[in-house]
């Protein structure tokens, strides 16, 4: 009973947040709506007993990605979308059609397999087990991921910094 109520509340929050995030004109409002979506999703993960993933979701998405988005918006949009410009793209109608089609396609496998599978009643989502898994069979993936993150960090810094070499040469040191 509790689970059903929680599911509906959280899914409404998530869908609402996502909708507002993609429709809102004001970008800062959009980011906060996106964060609401992330939070709702994190609640759903908790409901599915994936507590570590829920924590990581909050930590990475709300804590890090949200702040990053806020900074990017402040750096790029001087007026945070509060003007009369058209916000939708030229092909918005066809976009909606494709979206609806994709939705139907995504629903198909779910409809085809009735009745749905039963959930395992007791599972033990031990963080310790997850850690062992990460360190034993998946250690290469983890290392590659670490490398990817480092590369992304360096790439992001260089891309955002732009070319500023001539300036430094000018300065008499």
């Amino acid at each position: 009973m509790n689970e059903v109520v929680a599911f509906w509340i959280l899914s409404v929050i998530a869908v609402f947040g996502a909708l507002v995030a993609v429709r809102k004109r004001n970008l800062i409002h959009g980011v906060f709506a996106l964060l609401v979506f992330f939070a709702g999703l994190s609640g759903l993960f908790l409901l599915l007993l994936a507590e570590f993933i829920a924590a990581v979701q909050v930590l990475v998405y709300i804590g890090a990605v949200g702040i990053l988005l806020l900074f990017a918006i402040m750096l790029t949009e001087r007026v945070t979308g509060d003007d009369d410009r058209r916000v939708t793209s030229r092909g918005w109608f066809w976009g909606l059609v494709v979206t609806a089609a994709v939705f139907v396609v995504l629903l198909l496998p779910a409809i085809q397999q009735l009745p749905p599978p039963k959930a395992a009643q007791t599972i033990d989502p031990s963080v310790k087990e997850l850690g062992h898994k990460l360190m034993n069979p998946y250690v290469v993936t983890l290392e590659v991921l670490a490398l990817l993150l480092t590369a992304a960090l360096i790439g992001a810094v260089t891309a955002a910094q732009g070319v500023r070499m001539p300036k430094e040469e000018d300065s008499p040191e």
């Binding site: 509790n2 909050v58 804590g63 963080v127």
Partner: protein, 397 residues
Amino acid sequence: MSLEPLTLTDILIATVPLMLIFATLFAFTTWLERKALARIQNRIGPNKVGIPCTRIGLFGLGQPAADGIKMIFKEDIVPRGADRLFHLLAPILALIPAMLVLCFLPLNFPWIKNIQGLVKPFMLDGAVIFFFAITGLNTLAVFMAGWASRNKYSLLGGIRAVAQMVSYEIPLVLSAVIVVMMVGSLNAAEIVKEQADEYWFILSPWGFTAFVIFFIAALAETNRSPFDLPEAESEIIAGYFTEYSGFKFALFFLGEYIAMFAISGLAVTLFLGGGDGPGVTMNPEDQGLATEAFPGLSAVWFLAKIFALIAVMIWLRGTLPRLRVDQLMGFAWKFMLPLSILNILVAGFAWHAEQLDNTIITVITWVISFAVLYGAASGLNQLNRGKVRPREYKYAE
């Protein structure tokens, strides 16, 4: 862990007393802080407000209540051009995460013994990571307040706060990682139990270093002096809550103090043995729930340790000037970050040495790690401080 149906009573028993206790402690702490600061500064501090309609002063203990009443009845001003929705949401968003993380502290109040597992969030396998995840939300509240106020000082304060909190979260988490590494668990109750069995982590060289880093980063996370740049009075009025008045301001205030409790509570959990103390025995099979000389003793120990840390925070606030923005960032990235990464390395070696179960090797490791950490800290300090030193002056007759 199975998901058994919880009753509403269970949830209320677990959460409501926590809220009440910490709200009361908040009131007491504001009084304590004002009194202590007053003593540091040669003043008396609040001493008038006691029992209404009498002349009983009670050392000014009625002051928080009076302040609260004043705050509620003050006019709530929203600047023209402000984002009204976010202006309202920001203080709430500042308070809720702070309140939420209190649940992750392994406080063994006697009345929660019989509730099932999931309402005791500190029993969660990832309690520590949840703690950091939720405290991170505070940053957003601060940014929201700064942005929604449409005030330049607020915006500056908000940006400062975001930059500061993001930077200091890294050493904060890295120093907590050491404890997680030593215990091999993210579970708060298990961390406490391990310390009760072995030793409080603050007593080891790496634990002490990690504690100091953690505490400094915690000061920055909660915007306490000397890292109170986001609300630096002499520079940007009151930073992100310049435009707040009345009850919204009180909410910010409450959130800030609750965050102080929460982060000190985490420091107590990670480094100071949690509810461990004389008269308390941690039960290995009962996951952190303790056998106590009388019910609630471990909670009392826990709160006492929290207050010890808060006393240090108040003391620092009364004595230290504020850092500048670039120095603040430099300190986080050039001092705290390298030191905490080195500390992880040292702690890793020390853990392996301890696994050998040989007293001499352990002692040698401790000495070596102490020397390494001390050398690294002083070396980094020398690197960072530049040419800053006291000067000599000339006199003309």
